[in-house]
């Protein structure tokens, strides 16, 4: 017990990286995903094709590989012209990656809204932007909440992938203690922290879903 309390403050000092990466990804990837979902329904074939190709590449390659490509690969390929700090590289890659997943989720949600809702808004003189913001998007959110929540849980756990570029998050710090002290306890502590984090996220998502239950 004494050992746990002795390393806990050090491990928790990595929490700002873990939590920071999570929130920055969520804030960046959600609107980007919505915009991409709209683009995937565009009448411009080239835009649709490009976005579908993007989603295919992003979802078809491991996040870890994308991180390594941006952090290690880009400086080599650009003769050290493009060099990102660790956290910036991680945030950029996570936003690009998660926006691809979110785009697919939101595309499905938008497609589920019947044309009749657009028609009803149209005959009331509501313009396209207002129709999307005030009428379509709230209904889309309700539809996509379960799968969006699932991705959020994945995102929490995926933040640990930052360790491949030596991002000093909770897992990276715990690994240092595990190796130095030849014990698995630091990993158990990190597992407990992730469990608390995902439990909190699950509770918040359930609360939001509950609020949406007011209407059907």
């Amino acid at each position: 017990m004494h050992y746990i309390f002795s390393i806990l403050p050090d491990i928790l000092s990595g929490l700002n990286i873990t939590v920071g990466l999570f929130f920055l990804t969520l804030i960046g990837a959600t609107p980007l995903g919505i915009l991409m979902a709209l683009g995937m329904r565009s009448q411009f074939f080239v835009l649709r094709w490009l976005l579908n190709a993007y989603v295919w590449v992003i979802r078809g390659t491991p996040l870890m590989l994308q991180l390594m490509f941006v952090y290690f690969g880009l400086p080599i390929a650009s003769n050290n012209e493009i060099v990102f700090p660790k956290m910036t590289a991680a945030v950029v890659v996570f936003i690009l990656n998660y926006s691809g997943y979110f785009a697919e989720i939101f595309r499905g949600g938008i497609q589920a809204i019947p044309q009749a809702q657009y028609d009803a808004a149209g005959v009331l003189g509501i313009n396209r932007r207002q129709t999307f913001q005030k009428i379509i998007l709230p209904q889309v959110f309700k539809i996509v909440l379960p799968s969006f929540g699932n991705e959020i849980i994945n995102l929490i756990k995926d933040t640990s992938l930052g360790y491949v570029i030596s991002l000093v998050d909770i897992l990276y710090i715990a690994q240092g203690h595990a190796v130095a002290d030849v014990t698995l306890l630091p990993y158990v502590i990190v597992a407990a922290i992730y469990l608390i984090f995902t439990a909190l996220a699950t509770l918040i998502m359930k609360r939001i879903e509950f609020n949406y239950r007011e209407w059907k």
């Binding site: 009749a116 809702q117 028609d119 009803a120 808004a121 149209g122 005959v123 009331l124 003189g125 509501i126 313009n127 207002q130 005030k134 009428i135 709230p138 209904q139 309700k142 007011e214 209407w215 059907k216």
Partner: protein, 213 residues
């Protein structure tokens, strides 16, 4: 008054209607009758600006409307067959949304006007309910209230009785007659001839393109 001249619409080389002429006078109830699939709803969609025609002219209250393109200008209030209420808004929210965001009317003012309309339609006690909590007939009256709140030139119904039972149909007849007393111009698309006879000043047979009084 609404006047349509030589309206033609086709889908993928199939003519839906050709050189159609139609007039609706102020304050009258005109029913457009004909079998399902003949193009009545397409006509309603063109009049409401939800889709474009191939050619033709349309004038609403002296205002020329371009019928060859989508033209959603809220001149026609539409009560859809399935009502198409916005599920995330209460009855009051459904009615006040467009006045607030299209006409920039203050919320208080929009609310009091909506409550007045609901009162006139006999559903003032439903203001805080969501659409899923209403019966078919109540949803339809909310749809009518939502359209009336935008003060359209014409109120257009698409098959208003198809989703309703006999009792609710009787109530629609009463609502249409009540609105006629207030000189609201109404156009009713229906395949239900007995219903059309109950409510109409004139009936337009869509297939034969003739008007009877």
């Amino acid at each position: 008054m609404l006047k349509i001249e030589n309206l033609t619409k086709s889908y993928e080389n199939k003519v839906v209607f050709k050189e159609l002429n139609l007039e609706i006078n102020d304050g009258e109830v005109l029913s457009i009758v004909g079998p399902s699939g003949i193009g009545k709803t397409t006509l309603l969609k063109i009049i409401a600006g939800l889709c474009g025609a191939d050619s033709g002219k349309m004038v609403i209250d002296g205002q020329k409307i371009n019928v060859t393109e989508k033209n959603q200008n809220a001149l026609i209030g539409v009560i859809f067959q399935d009502f198409n209420l916005f599920p995330q808004y209460t009855v009051l929210g459904n009615i006040t949304l467009a006045p607030r965001i299209v006409k920039n009317i203050e919320t208080d003012q929009a609310n009091s006007k909506a409550k007045k309309i609901l009162d006139e339609l006999g559903i003032e006690d439903k203001a805080d309910l969501y659409p899923y909590q209403l019966s078919g007939g109540q949803k339809q009256r909310v749809a009518i209230a939502r359209a009336l709140a935008m003060e359209p030139k014409i109120l257009a119904y698409d098959e208003p009785t198809s989703a309703l039972d006999e009792f609710s149909t009787g109530q629609v007849v009463e609502v249409i007659k009540e609105l006629k007393k207030r000189e609201v111009t109404q156009m009713v698309i229906t395949h239900d001839m007995p219903f059309a006879k109950k409510i109409s000043d004139r009936i337009f047979d869509f297939k034969k393109e003739i008007v009877t009084k």
